[in-house]
Symmetry: C2
C-alpha cells in the first residue's frame, strides 16, 4: 500500500499557508498502520538500541506497538506537568514562546542507547530537545525515527549531529 | 507477573492528598506491557466491536498496539485544536473549569461498534464525554476499556449506563 495515498493534506492548518499532513487515516486502517510500523521497524535494521523514547502524544502511537513487538522498553517524553515522579526537563524555543519536555529521571540510565520516536519531523525543535534529555541522562541517541519527514524544512541536517535520522515517508 | 507490583504510587500528585497510580513503569518493561495488552484484549472476549477509540494521550498507548493486533481501526479522541480536519466536539465539566474533546467527523460511521480505551478510570468525566461523541456520530458504545480503575470513586456505575466497563487492575 502507498502510505502517501492514506496520509491526507489539510490546507491551512494550524494556520493559513500550512499544508498539514494528517496521519489519522493511517491509524484508522489497520493494514496501513501495521505496514507503517513494520517499515519503520525495518528502518532500524542494523541499529542497536535499548529503549524507545516516544514523544507525546503521537509518538506513543508508534513507540507503543514497536516496543511490544521489538521487546524494548518505551519511555514517555511528555509535556511539562504530566509525569508524576521526579523528572529531568528541557525548555526549548517555539515559533512563539517556549515549550518544556520532561522525562522521569529513573526512566533512562547512563549508557542506554535510545531511539527517539515521533510521528512527524518538521522543524526538529522537539526532537532536538529530546536528544538533550537523552544526553543529560548520560544515555546515547541511537537515532531518530519518524513516520513522516517534511524534508523541505531541512531539520534532518540539524538532527544528524545528534544521531542518524530514519523517516518512512518524505515530502521534499 | 503481578502488574500491581509494577504500577507505582506517587503520593500528592497532582495535588496534596491524591495518591497517583503511575503506569509508566509498565511501558518501560516490555514483558509487563505485553501482558497488560494481552489481558486487556482478553477482557473483550465475546464483545463484538469495529473500532477502538483511544483517548489522548495515554489511551494511545493501549489503543495502538491492540488495534494492530486485533485488526481494528484506531480512532483518536483528542483535546481541542489538535485534530486538523472537521471535528465533532463535546465540552464537559472538570473539577475546575471545562475541557473539550474532539473526533474527526469522518472517523466514526453510523452503526460502528466502538470500544473507548484509556489508561485509567477515575471520575469518568472524559469517558462519559467520549461516549457522547460516539453516540452523536450515530455509532454505539460497545464498551469501555481501562488498564486501571479507581473503583472507590464509583465511576463504573455511571459508565455502565452507556456500555459495559472492562478494567484490568482495580483499586478498591
Amino acid at each position: 500500500m502507498d502510505l502517501r495515498q492514506v496520509i491526507r493534506n489539510i490546507p491551512d492548518f494550524p494556520k493559513p499557508g500550512i499544508n498539514f499532513k494528517d496521519i489519522t487515516p493511517v491509524m484508522e486502517n489497520p493494514e496501513a498502520y501495521r505496514q507503517a510500523l513494520e517499515e519503520m521497524t525495518q528502518l532500524l535494521d542494523g541499529t542497536e538500541y535499548d529503549k524507545l523514547a516516544a514523544i507525546e502524544s503521537r509518538g506513543f502511537i508508534f513507540g507503543g506497538p514497536m516496543a511490544v513487538e521489538q521487546d524494548k522498553g518505551m519511555v514517555l517524553f511528555r509535556k511539562a506537568g504530566k509525569l508524576p515522579a521526579k523528572t529531568r526537563q528541557v525548555t526549548y524555543d517555539l515559533e512563539y514562546g517556549t515549550a518544556t519536555l520532561e522525562v522521569h529521571v529513573d526512566a533512562l540510565n547512563a549508557g542506554d542507547r535510545v531511539i527517539i520516536v515521533d510521528d512527524l519531523l518538521a522543524t526538529g525543535g522537539t526532537a532536538l530537545a529530546s536528544a538533550k534529555l537523552v544526553r543529560e541522562a548520560g544515555a546515547q541517541v541511537a537515532g531518530f525515527l519518524f513516520m513522516v519527514e517534511l524534508e523541505f524544512l531541512g531539520a534532518a541536517a540539524l538532527l544528524q549531529k545528534e544521531g542518524p535520522v530514519f523517516s518512512l515517508v518524505k515530502y521534499s
